[in-house]
Amino acid sequence: MTETDLAQQPPETALVLSGEDAVADARPPRLAVRSGRAERVRRAVGVIVRQPGLVVSILLLAVVVLAAWDPGLFTHRDPIAQDYPRLSGPSAAHWFGTDDAGRDIYARVVHGASASVKAVVVAVIVGLFVGSGLGLLAAWVGRLVDDIVMRVIDVLLSVPALLIALAFFTALGFGTIHIAIAVGIGNIASFARVMRAEVLRIKAFGYVEAAKFSGISRLRIVTRHVVPNALGPVFVLATLEVGLALLNISSLSFLGFGAPPPAPEWGSLVASGRDFLGAAWWMTTMPGLVVALTVLAANRVARSLEGNRAVAP
């Protein structure tokens, strides 16, 4: 491990992947990328059979994505129709109860999946691409560029995400995608750091220098050798960030920066239900449970992608 990359180590994931820890033993990553991947897939299938928790999590995420794709699969009710008796609790007719305007909460949650999934995807993609790009740049070019890029990242971390979010809202109006971009910008730092640490680690190994000597162009080295090897931890971070992004989006809604009504985005549902804790606890609790379970499932999947060891379900 070189210089200050330990100081820049990404927090949540990369360190404990595949048995590597912070005080690195200098095991080189696999050179032949393809066989490594096939190995991992085979192992994954075996793992699933032994871990029901993981299976449930994957199923749950699949349900969420399906609901986002086509809400009609899960409910026939109109999420903004105010036709039902208001403030009635969970029942056979209304699984999640109804809200203060007489709307069916289950229908709203189902339709809200699409807004939330979109938002999360945007947030993670923004972080992933911009962040990884910056991290790659910083680590590959090194020296001054490295310093500058990392300082920019630090500044991004210091300016409150709230302010960035507000910049979007006042300029472009409240909207789920705008929150998503704001949350994504908050993610950039994590992705940048993970990518940078990985690239630095890979760079330090002999085979990269060897590749340079054998005349392969720099670009080819980066795209064929460095990036594919570095992506592992980055993708794991992405799955973790899915959960975090969903939580951040809900929190911003809670603070009043949510999607405009009557959009049934999950975070807005939880936020607007909180004034009804006494009168109608299900308005906050049901969407809140859905958020929590989705985040839980995403994290579970992330953890299993991380470890080669069998993690107890």
Partner: protein, 530 residues
């Protein structure tokens, strides 16, 4: 030091903390239920933040809650008759027939909490200083003063350049509460930051901006208005105000006895009653919660569209869904409790049929996906408002209602400052408004092209002469007629679309008595526990 020792140390610390935690919890529970009968401290939870700790200068919540207990006004509104004015700091007064000259005779013996005496000079300085701060609400009432004379220490003669009929009512408001000379000498920023010195029944003891405020009793207070139920000092040694923004936390605090008085959201009123709390209601006597229409923009330039929009709103539905049925559908431009109310319920019926025929005759005949189109353009109306759950709630119901006749009602929520900007630049088609002045003059301040011009009317529109007449007529009967005519025009033409008469609910501890409301202000002078 080995890790093991460190580790053991950490475990010990956590055990100790847990023990301390448990002990503290036991200790705190007794103090949190301190509101038991006959207590000397009143604990109030407030919901709205203030920007400035000065009842004259703040445009938000300060004056109506905390500020009202600190300052006295020249006169007071009678609790049983909104048109009747009772003596307070002024024991008597005279208004000239042309409503240009107001003479107040001050009572003796009034002192401020810093020892200063109340004199005519102090009153004069109050109004002169206030007139300079044009952004303060109260300032509008003291504009246009041509002179203030103080023939002796207890007589103030105020002369206006133009007739000013609403001034007497205004003098009862907290915005025209009288403050000490020491306060008047401070800069605006300092007054806002430090608070004011008044002559009221309670005095500031300590505060943290927008978190809490502690008032203590003013010893020797003896100049309450005759509108009050008792004379002499207030009943509490101390009043603690805490700003609690979360509605459910306020309600929970009430129910668990951590506060004695707090505003309730509509949906919590039932639960509060069930928990054995009192629910006090303060009907608003100002303009009904309405949508103010910008007649210079979008599809609302057409009067037929405005009228159709007005008829397409099911006000009972709005009230049922957004206020748990506790507010009342509007029956006119001003609320039913307002002294200048004119019944226009004929215009404010839910009438989708008429709305539809109006829209059809205005050319909005194509329908696609439930929305009407004309020449390829959709019938879209955008409401601009400050992002706030209470607003969002009722606007969403309107959205669903008007969709039924084919209007696409879009909600445009903005952060506070951006909303203010939109208002000041006329960047809105429709926005939500209420208004905080009881007098019918509020219609002038809202709609006159010379002041706020909410409907963006051209400068020489036909309402202006009526506004001028209303302000300068001192004959109440004539004035009422003019204000009636104004209401008919404003609502009939769709400049203002009243939705509902707002009511503010408060939850109070079972043994709390004597809390009164003067429209938006809470009066705690007569309040006592047990």
């Amino acid at each position: 030091m080995s890790r093991k020792v460190l580790r053991r140390g950490a475990l010990a610390v956590s055990l100790a903390s847990l023990t301390a935690l448990a002990l503290a919890a036991c200790g705190s529970s007794s103090s949190s239920s301190g509101g038991a009968g006959g207590s000397k401290t009143l604990r109030v939870a407030l919901s709205s933040l203030s920007q400035c700790n000065d009842p004259q200068l703040d445009n938000y919540g300060f004056g109506s809650s905390i500020g009202r207990q600190i300052v006295d006004s020249l006169v007071a509104r009678d609790p049983s008759d909104a048109n009747k004015i009772d003596p307070w700091l002024a024991k008597s007064w005279k208004v000239s027939p042309d409503a240009k000259t107001y003479t107040f005779h001050l009572r003796d013996g009034v002192t401020f909490s810093n020892g200063e005496k109340l004199t005519a000079q102090v009153v004069k300085d109050n109004f002169v200083t206030l007139a300079k701060y044009t952004e303060a609400t109260g300032s509008a009432f003291v504009q246009g003063i041509s002179s203030i004379d103080t023939p002796n220490a207890s007589t103030v003669v105020i002369k206006f350049a133009q007739p000013n009929a609403p001034f007497l009512q205004a003098a009862a408001q907290y915005q025209l509460g009288i403050v000490a000379e020491a306060t008047l000498k401070e800069s605006q920023d300092d007054r806002c930051a430090n608070g004011v010195i008044g002559s009221g029944p309670y005095v500031t003891k300590s505060f943290t901006l927008n978190k809490n405020w502690v008032l203590k009793k003013r010893k020797g207070y003896n100049w309450a208005s005759t509108a009050a139920k008792h004379q002499g000092e207030g009943y509490f040694q101390q009043i603690d105000f805490t700003f609690v923004q979360e509605a459910s936390v306020r309600t929970g605090a009430l129910k668990s006895g951590q506060v004695d008085l707090a505003p309730l959201t509509f949906q919590d009123v039932e639960g509060a009653k069930a928990a054995g709390l009192q629910t006090l209601s303060a009907p608003n006597r100002v303009p009904a919660v309405s949508l103010e229409v910008n007649t210079s923009k979008g599809v609302l330039q057409d009067e037929k569209v405005r009228q159709a929009f007005r008829d397409a709103i099911d006000r009972q539905d709005v009230v049922d869904k957004a206020t748990s049925g506790l507010a009342k559908p509007a029956t006119g431009s001003l609320t039913a409790a307002s002294p200048f109310h004119l019944d226009q319920s004929g215009l404010l019926k839910y009438d989708p049929k008429t709305a539809t025929s109006l829209l059809e005759s205005a050319g909005w005949t194509q329908v696609k996906n439930g929305i009407r189109y004309k020449d390829g353009k959709p019938l879209k109306i955008t409401v601009t408002y400050a992002n706030d759950p209470a607003n969002t709630q009722f606007l969403q119901v309107i959205q669903a209602d008007v969709k039924k006749v084919g209007i696409d009602f879009e909600l445009r929520a903005l952060p506070t400052d951006a909303f203010d900007k939109a208002l000041s630049t006329g960047d809105y088609e429709v926005h939500r408004w209420s208004g905080a002045l009881i007098d019918g003059d509020v219609l002038r301040t809202l709609f006159s092209a010379k002041t706020l011009n909410k409907s963006q009317l051209p400068a020489n529109n036909d309402l202006e002469p009526l506004f001028t007449a209303e302000q300068s007529t001192s004959d109440p009967a004539k004035r009422t007629k003019i204000i009636d005519k104004l209401q008919q025009l404003i609502v009939g033409r769709g400049y203002q679309i009243p939705i509902f008469d707002n009511v503010t609910y408060y939850g109070a501890a079972k043994d709390l008595q004597g809390v009164a409301f003067d429209d938006s202000a809470i009066l705690l002078y007569d309040a006592k526990l047990g």
